[in-house]
């Protein structure tokens, strides 16, 4: 029996963090769920249970489904998050694969370089792109020249309208979340046995067949983990769309924040939040399903 099995210690070790999480995480979350079936009122705080309305008022959820604003925001969020995940995968997969092929000493430095942006401010990384995408920047000017050279003269532009677009949102999300994709991919690719590749090559497979039949299926857990780590924060992203996005294509995070602070509609903000969480449940279940299967295979 360890020291921690003594009764008093045990209660303290379990009780303290448990109590904290119940009070500051579970309780606020339970309030949000309850709030989503409350009725909006012009009082302060701006909600009530009961009164002229039923105790459990599902009108908010009804509006959530029937008003196109919300459905559209959900679709935009899903499309943007899925696009971000896809581009992160397309860029991150070859990068992770390349990292497994360089020498050990180079690999450590390069991995460090993948992680390093994490330690610099998230806001400033978004800001860096605001500078690059702006109309007067060297980056935009360079891309504009390439564009004008590629397309017919009638399509030529003075500068590319990159800022305040959905394109900008996805680009910056790919930029900020790319390390989340590379690291789990690298972890799963690094474990693969290189002799399997060689065996397949010896038996006459073409390199791309080796990739499709040997490497790709074995790296599936890494793809799922990386995909989830990118998709989930991307779907709920608030900062990036409000800095580089277009107000006419709002993402769900923006809707929650606006409903809460501007419209002062707490029930609606809560209902949208609950719906966003429901959206996260699917991918998370998929992930734990794969995790459980991977552990079962061991």
């Amino acid at each position: 029996m360890g020291w921690f099995h003594r009764r008093g210690w045990r209660d303290l070790i379990i009780g303290l963090p448990y109590l904290w999480l119940v009070v500051f995480f579970l309780l606020p979350f339970a309030i949000v769920i309850a709030m989503s079936v409350a009725t909006k009122t012009p009082t302060a705080p701006p909600f009530s249970f009961g009164g002229a309305q039923p105790w459990v008022n599902i009108e908010t959820y009804h509006r959530l489904i029937s008003e196109p604003l919300y459905l559209r925001a959900f679709l935009i969020s899903i499309v943007n998050a899925a696009g971000t995940t896809l581009f992160c995968l397309l860029l991150g997969y070859p990068m992770a694969l390349a990292l497994t092929r360089v020498s050990r000493s180079a690999r450590n430095i390069l991995l460090m370089l993948v992680i390093l942006p994490f330690w610099t401010s998230f806001l400033l990384r978004v800001y860096a792109w605001m500078g690059l995408m702006g109309k007067s920047s060297w980056f935009n000017a360079g891309l504009t020249e390439v564009w004008n050279w590629l397309v017919p003269v009638s399509w030529a532009v003075k500068s590319l309208p990159m800022m305040h677009s959905n394109f900008a949102v996805v680009l910056v999300m790919v930029y900020t979340y790319l390390p989340f994709m590379i690291l789990p991919l690298y972890a799963s690719l690094e474990r693969l046995d290189p002799t399997l590749d060689e065996a397949a090559l010896d038996l006459g497979s073409r390199p791309w067949q080796v990739f499709l039949d040997v490497t790709l299926p074995q790296s599936m857990p890494g793809i799922i983990a990386g995909g989830l780590l990118v998709f989930i924060p991307a779907a709920g992203e608030l900062v990036i769309p409000s800095l580089v996005g277009d107000a006419s294509t709002p993402m769900i995070g923006r809707v929650i924040s606006d409903q809460f602070s501007q419209a002062r509609d707490w029930p609606m903000a809560s209902a949208v939040a609950v719906a966003l969480l429901a959206l996260m449940v699917g991918p998370t279940m998929l992930y734990s399903h794969y995790q459980a299967r991977a552990e079962g295979a061991k």
Binding site: I13, L21, V239, L276
Partner: protein, 279 residues
């Protein structure tokens, strides 16, 4: 023999260019004399001067550091306890809920955490009169809550690797519980506790969304200050601020690299010594 993976290496180079060009561009233009943030107008360090003359920046940085130090320290204590609880106690009432509570904040979108914390604090204020205003306390409470679970994850992983038999042996040999804690358990998980603290510290220092919901009048952290400036557009003094932050991170990473190399070298030397004295 395998061919040189030219295709992969060129994508790798492109990827690193993608990751670092924006950052380097920011550093470069922080020395720009022009008011336009991304058009070169000659070398100047005036934006650094403007930054240091700005009292708001200093105050915001101080508040951010205070919140980060307090919240990461409390988060580390709570998170470590939770990690020990989950690994060492395989059965207790409500364990399922507890392990759920420890994972949920990791995948909860920040907007939802922020909104629910704000609703919670507003309702508390109207029910029991506390917190009468939002600021340092409410931000710190929210930061502790969402960063402690990161500490738990790290400590949990470390404990799962460590050998519980050593603790049991110490108890059998007559150590008192607190001696086992101080002499064995804590030293074993101390690297995890340290990296947990660092992670919690960075998360707190960098947070925008949850802070923006739990803050009140007069409590502007550094990310909130940057956020309000950046919303209005690109300004050159932010380039200077970014460069200084990158410099700090670079120095921090270099120091921790050296320290870790030393610790590793010492550990190897100790092991060699132990081996020789055995032989």
């Amino acid at each position: 023999m395998r061919r040189r993976p030219t295709f992969l290496l060129s994508i790798l180079s492109f990827g690193f260019a993608f990751l670092y060009v924006p950052i380097l561009s920011m550093v470069f233009f922080s020395f720009n004399a022009s008011r336009l943030a991304t058009v070169w107008g000659g070398f100047s360090t005036k934006w650094y001067g403007a930054l240091f003359a700005n009292k708001q920046v200093g105050e915001a940085l101080l508040l951010s550091l205070k919140i980060a130090i307090v919240s990461s320290t409390v988060a580390t204590i709570l998170g470590t306890l939770a990690g020990i609880a989950l690994v060492r106690f395989t059965k207790f009432r409500g364990r399922m809920l507890f392990s759920g509570l420890v994972t949920a904040p990791l995948i909860m979108p920040e907007v939802i955490t922020g909104v629910s914390a704000l609703i919670f604090f507003l309702l508390l204020a109207s029910w029991i009169g506390w917190p009468s205003q939002r600021g340092f306390t409410t931000i710190t409470l929210a930061h502790i809550t969402f960063s402690m679970v990161f500490v738990t994850t790290i400590v949990q992983a470390r404990l799962l690797q460590s050998d519980q038999a050593i603790e049991e042996a110490a108890m059998d040999l007559g150590s008192r519980p607190w001696q086992v804690l101080v002499d064995i358990t804590l030293p074993v998980i101390s690297p995890a506790i340290l990296s947990g603290w660092l992670l919690a510290f960075t998360i707190s220092l960098d947070d925008v969304v949850i802070t923006s919901f739990t803050t009140g009048p007069g409590s502007t952290t550094l990310p909130l200050l940057i956020w309000s400036k950046v919303k209005l557009g690109v300004t050159p003094d932010i380039n200077a601020l970014a460069t200084l932050m990158i410099l700090c991170v670079g120095i921090g990473v270099a120091i921790s690299g050296v320290v870790m190399n030393r610790a590793e070298a010492r550990r190897l030397a100790d092991e060699r010594l132990a081996y020789r004295s055995q032989a």
